[in-house]
Amino acid sequence: MRTRRIFMTQSAAAASAMAFPLIGGAQPKTVKVGVLHPVTGALAYSGQQCRLGAMMAVEDINKAGGIKSLGGAKIEALLGDAQSQPQAGAAEVEKMNEAGVSAVVGAFASAICLATTQAAAKHNLPHVVDVGVADQIVERGLKNTFRFGPGYRKCAETAVANLHVLNTLAGKPARTVMIIHEESLFGTGTANLLARELPGYGYEVKEVIKHANPTRDFNNIVLRMKAVNPDIVIPANYYNEYALLVRTMQQQKVQPKAIYSVLGGAASSYKFVKEFPDAANGIIDCNHWFNPKDKRSAAMRKRVEAQGQFFSYEVFMAYTATRLLADAIERAKSADRAAIIQALENSTFSDHIMPYGQTKFINGQNTGAQPLMTQVQKNDIKVIVPREFREVEPLFPMKA
């Protein structure tokens, strides 16, 4: 009797397996995801760092058994190159759409993200923005666009509010500010926001200087800095120009009370700290940064450095953005685009190393996203503000 029942169930299972071979014995199918970054052209370094982070996430997800709600389907990354140009990025989205991706992660630069999210929207293709700080990206009502990190308004407001706290605690030694920014959407937008915010806290913005990418020489800007003699210098630019600017300041012996970078500076770049330790010490940044209290962030830094790469913000931003997407596919239990968009809208993703808490999207923006303030101290990058993530006490002002 018992054996007969076992026989019955076994043969039933066998029959259904034969009837639906895809569910039973066949390999789990894959979910195609577009990984789109500017890996050549002017932004190639950042783009490649982003790609590294995204691919690490794909590797981790697949190693841990893929998308479980889809029978362990593996994520298949389709790599795209935006060539540091918005139109090239949009063209890659079209290609990825043709190739049948379920979603896109990318595309680092604000101007490129504006183009790629729009191109993806035409096909109702979910697009997770990994960095792209311009707020226009999530303010155009595109239903497919989700940004995990903070936008530049949030960053500029946080930067100014925190600067004011630092300055007040130090007895208000700083009063005047000079802003130096690169000329694209990111630098200009950030500079405009800062210039608007700062006077409200009683700071005088002495000068706002825009420069091209690449700028071959910063002597003129530093000369003007000498003439203006601001208490605080705020740069908002990309790595090459940032490095030249700070080195030229060092060369010309210009020492403001603080160098306070908003979105991209020495105090969020292990590379800069390693290559120019003297110039880097004391610099304060307000930028994307991981939660230093989370043990996984130190492990991840080691893993990236073991590959001979720097653990730059691009790496962990793209890493967590990709994990957010995988989490949404898991919840959607489907590779269907509309279902993934729905899952992203309702995402409560919290298993990450960023200081954002539980994810909650409103109009495509993760409301918990925030930048941290870091400072280069003793040749390492440490979080100084806010208090719950603080590793060391801030040193402000830099010179007495």
């Binding site: 050549t40 370094y45 091209a212 071959r216 002597n219 003129n220 000369l223 003007r224 000498k226 080195r247």
Partner: protein, 290 residues
């Protein structure tokens, strides 16, 4: 509008920056002006030279200034072989083919660098990277002063080479009348390749002077090559004095333009000059009317 405490340093800074432009333009003016080869690979050549200096410093610990002979000879050989084995063969004697071949070479070089070094920006630390010399109200970086002196020396050598040696006479003869030179027993292909080699050797020198205060990545050449073309046109094609003075002038225009118009608009001056020269003095400041 600006007092002399800013104006003078800005002027000196322009001159010293211009010297590096001049060095890059010297190589270009030889290739472009004398041999009528539009070398689109000039920027990529500079990038390769910068990587060469970088590797010598990082791997073998050779100071960039001491690397000068190695880089000049190395870049000369590279240039000679490129012209002899690639450009000459692929172009079949047609100028428009040369243009495409050099463009293709630049794409290959850039992507090879991307493969070998990734897009990472690299720079070197030397004891004198941050050293300055005070001249009146100005603090001028030592690497820039060295570059300025280097540019003067290199252009003097080039002028001597072209004016006073047999090789120089052969180059001038080939530039003026290729067929005639051939009939006189000049090995035209060899002279072409030597000229191209000298052009790249200038880049080798420029790279040694540039890297201590700058950086290298696979795209770094693009920022210089347009400026160099402007200088060649401004100075007069094939004129070394023109390239030197043109370079200094462009450096000053860029510097003062940046000061008065803002850094973002400062470059307008450079290309404004480019258009004006093409309109009113197409042979350039020192060029002979053809």
């Amino acid at each position: 509008m600006f007092d002399s405490a800013i104006l003078i340093p800005s002027l000196l800074n322009g001159i010293t920056t211009g010297a590096v432009y001049a060095l890059i333009a010297l190589g270009l003016t030889l290739i472009y002006g004398v041999l009528h080869i539009i070398n689109f690979a000039h920027g990529a050549g500079l990038m390769l030279a910068l990587y060469g200096v970088y590797l010598l410093k990082e791997r073998l610990g050779i100071d960039p200034y001491l690397a000068l002979p190695v880089m000049v000879v190395g870049m000369f050989l590279l240039g000679y072989c490129l012209q002899r084995l690639v450009i000459n063969r692929a172009s079949h004697g047609k100028d428009e083919n040369i243009l495409l071949v050099t463009l293709g070479l630049s794409i290959i070089m850039e992507n090879a660098a991307l493969l070998a070094f990734q897009s990472d920006t690299r720079s070197i630390e030397t004891p004198y990277t941050l050293a300055t010399v005070t001249i009146g109200p100005a603090m001028i970086a030592v690497p820039k002063l060295v570059a300025f002196a280097g540019a003067l020396v290199v252009s003097a050598i080039l002028v001597w080479l072209i004016q006073a040696t047999d090789l120089g006479r052969a180059i001038r003869a080939v530039a003026r009348e290729k067929q005639g030179a051939k009939l006189m027993g000049i090995h035209v292909d060899h002279v072409y390749a030597i000229s191209f080699g000298i052009g790249l050797a200038c880049l080798g020198a420029a790279a040694c002077f540039l890297l201590p205060a700058y950086y290298v990545n696979p795209q770094v050449g693009n920022g210089f090559v347009l400026v160099a073309f402007t200088i060649v046109v401004l100075g007069g094609m094939g004129s070394f004095t023109g390239a030197l003075l043109g370079g200094l002038l462009i450096g000053v225009v860029e510097s003062l333009g940046g000061l008065y118009l803002g850094e973002s608009l400062g470059q307008i001056g450079i290309f404004g000059i480019f258009i004006l020269v093409l309109l009113f003095r197409p042979q350039g400041l020192f060029g002979a009317r053809s």
